[in-house]
């Protein structure tokens, strides 16, 4: 492997990792607040791909991208309202089954509406422009993704640490009931979390699918699971951690594919999950959690 191909792979990996990081943040925020794996998150990400296909069919990309973001956010909040809100005080297993039900419903709905055949993802001309830096050449999206990811994470960190909404989120994630007693509107705060998570998933989906050309109703499942693992790797509930986890998984996956083990790249991610959970259950940057009896 020459230096050039090495750099090329690293760049591809970082770009993939950036998209993963954006999705992983959605998982980590929801888990941080509701202690729930939002199984439907990967499918919301997949629906964002379909939204893009249909809005780009008639609209220019400048309008299509904001529209996709709005639609995805609406879907994310709708899932929260319909499937999670009625079960706030139900046993954990019911909430998980409800989350799986929501994911199953979105997948089947997508199969019903758009058929199971892959649909071509529209090209956004300026993102596809080929850039040459030294001997490395890649499309603009590959360069933009990591930069955009880091900027978004910085913005999100600002939101969480320096605004009222962010403070409410932190309070709710620490203690549900006390936060409510302090006058924080629980449902609104949870909805904001889903708004942010879905918005990032929409952006992530644009960056992810631009490199992959097609969407199917099942193209959200595996990235979804991987991004959850990225969130666990970074320490669940920790936003910069989720970003780092996303980058690590993206780079590892790209290298496994480059060495010809593409079938095992998925397996690798899950083995990674088991190893993390066994040896460092709080992830790389997670706080120590104590189990209450």
């Amino acid at each position: 492997m020459t230096i050039t191909t090495l750099f090329q792979h690293i760049l591809t990996g970082i770009s993939l990792g950036g998209a993963y990081a954006l999705i992983a943040i959605g998982y980590t925020m929801v888990y941080g607040i509701l202690r729930l794996i939002n199984f439907a998150h990967g499918d919301i990400f997949m629906m964002a791909g379909y939204f893009m296909i249909f809005s780009m069919a008639t609209l220019p990309w400048q309008i299509a991208i904001p529209l996709v973001c709005i639609l995805t956010v609406a879907l994310g909040v709708a899932v929260e309202r319909a499937a999670y809100k009625p079960l706030r005080s139900a046993p954990r297993m019911s909430i998980m089954i409800s989350a799986i039900g929501a994911s199953y419903l979105i997948q089947n709905l997508a199969t019903y509406l758009f058929t199971a055949l892959p649909k071509a993802y529209p090209e956004i001309p300026f993102l596809k422009k080929i850039l040459h830096i030294g001997s490395i050449s890649s499309s603009l999206v590959t360069f933009i993704t990591p930069v955009l990811t880091i900027l978004l994470v910085l913005a999100l960190m600002f939101l969480i640490h320096h605004t009222k909404v962010g403070m409410a989120m932190r309070a709710v994630s620490k203690d549900f009931e006390t936060a409510q007693l302090m006058g924080i509107k629980l449902n609104n705060t949870i909805s904001y979390t889903f708004v942010i998570g879905s918005l990032l998933a929409a952006i992530g989906s644009i960056l992810y699918f631009t490199d992959r050309m097609s969407v199917t109703p099942f193209s959200g499942t595996l990235p979804g699971l991987k991004c959850f693992i990225a969130a666990v790797l970074g320490g669940i509930g920790n936003i910069p951690g989720a970003m780092v986890g996303g980058f690590i998984i993206g780079i590892c996956e790209t290298f496994l594919v480059a060495f010809g083990y593409s079938t095992f790249s998925d397996a690798f991610t899950f083995i990674l999950l088991i190893i993390i959970l066994l040896f460092r259950p709080t992830g790389l940057f997670g706080e120590k959690m104590t189990d209450k009896v």
Binding site: M93, N108, L109, F228, T263, F270
Partner: protein, 373 residues
């Protein structure tokens, strides 16, 4: 209700079931749909009960069923495909020579042993899956609820990826799948295997081990304080559940006659979860009833959702391919949201409960009639 009366009812029910099977067996072609649906429902009920054993009775939210079913299905299929059909099945990359010599060795066995091969194949598939369950159970079962779900879901996807990987082409035929799997001789065979599997699981649940499982489900700390070895019992429940999932997978392979890795995707696990939830989490009879009901409505009664529907000349717009599955996922969500106990809740079927229900229903109707007057 008196004991004698109950056993009379049970005997009548058994006679009806046997008569129904005789009837279907004799009129296999006229009632083809009912025949296939009942057969598939019986097969799925084995895996549904096994999922209930792990999830409903022991409280381990495991989503690895499809992976264990895939292991069982592939082992059973490779065991059972006739030796002279192998070359045709593996026409792309050839058969692994050691498998081939194993198959010739199998076919040299005496005839009465050969007639047992389907059963042996199912048990072997179950044992292989149980070994896998023991290996992954050791690290995975230490995880808490949702982490366990994700890890087992991941395991099932790994199994699928490995089965379809080109490196295993000569064993699993990669992404082309296996065909020419010999099927069941009759509905009785399916029913007998299913009945034995479910009976074994019921006996397990009634034993001290089963009580320990339930204690773990209710409160892990309390169970441990009472001297139940948590990791050993969890491991045991997981391994036994995987064994029966794999048996059911093998039966599914025999039922479908041809399988590929796509059959055992995550959505299969979700389908089984749907059955368990509708039947009632923690009820064996609920799972059996629900798997028959769900399979029948999915493959038969609700088929019309997928076909275009005309009222007069007007085509109802929603009805086309895929609508059925949308309805099913909505049902799953509605059951979880509004009717969490499912058909049976945590109860088992009993004549007392049924007669109480019937009496209530009749009484309610009488009162309703009075009011209407």
């Amino acid at each position: 209700m008196s004991k004698i009366r109950k056993s009379i009812y049970t005997a009548i029910l058994a006679v009806i079931i046997i008569a129904l099977m005789f009837f279907l067996e004799a009129n296999k072609f006229r009632f083809g749909m009912a025949y296939t649906v009942i057969q598939k429902g019986l097969i799925l009920s084995v895996v549904a009960v096994s999922m209930n054993l792990v999830t409903g009775f022991t409280g381990l939210f495991s989503l690895g069923q499809a992976g264990f079913m895939a292991i069982g299905a592939y082992v059973t299929a490779i065991f059972l495909i006739p030796a002279d059909g192998m070359a045709e099945v593996y026409y792309i990359s050839g058969v692994n020579p050691s498998i081939m010599s194993f198959k010739y060795w199998l076919e040299s066995g005496p005839a009465w042993v050969q007639s047992m091969y389907p059963i042996l194949a199912l048990i072997l598939g179950g044992l292989v899956a149980a070994v896998f369950a023991a290996i992954i159970g050791f690290p995975v079962l230490r995880l808490k609820s949702d982490y366990l779900a994700i890890a087992t879901l991941g395991f099932s996807e790994i199994v699928r990826a490995i089965i379809s990987s080109p490196q295993l082409d000569t064993i699993t035929n990669g992404s082309y799948g296996l065909k020419k799997i010999p099927g069941f001789d009759s509905l009785f065979e399916t029913f007998a295997i299913m009945a034995v599997c479910v009976l074994l699981m019921v006996l397990l649940l009634r034993s001290t081990y089963g009580r320990a499982f339930r204690a773990i489900r209710e409160d892990e700390v309390a169970a441990e304080a009472m001297g139940i070895n948590l990791s050993r019992h969890k491991q045991m429940s997981f391994i036994i559940g995987s064994f029966f999932s794999a048996v059911s997978g093998g039966m599914l392979a025999m039922f479908m006659r041809s399988i590929d890795s796509k059959t055992f995707s995550v959505s299969l696990t979700y389908d089984i979860l749907l059955i368990v939830v509708i039947g009632g989490i923690g009820s064996v009879t609920g799972s059996v009833i629900a798997s028959l009901l769900v399979t029948a409505s999915k493959e038969w009664w609700l088929r019309f959702f997928d076909a275009p529907l005309y009222i007069g000349n007007f085509q109802v717009p929603l009805f086309r391919t895929g609508f059925r599955m949308v309805i099913f996922s909505v049902i799953l969500l509605l059951v979880v949201l509004f009717y969490q106990r499912g058909i049976m809740g945590k109860n088992e079927f009993s004549w007392d409960r049924l007669s109480l229900r019937v009496r209530k229903l009749l009484g309610g109707r009488k009162r309703g009639a009075k009011n209407a007057r």
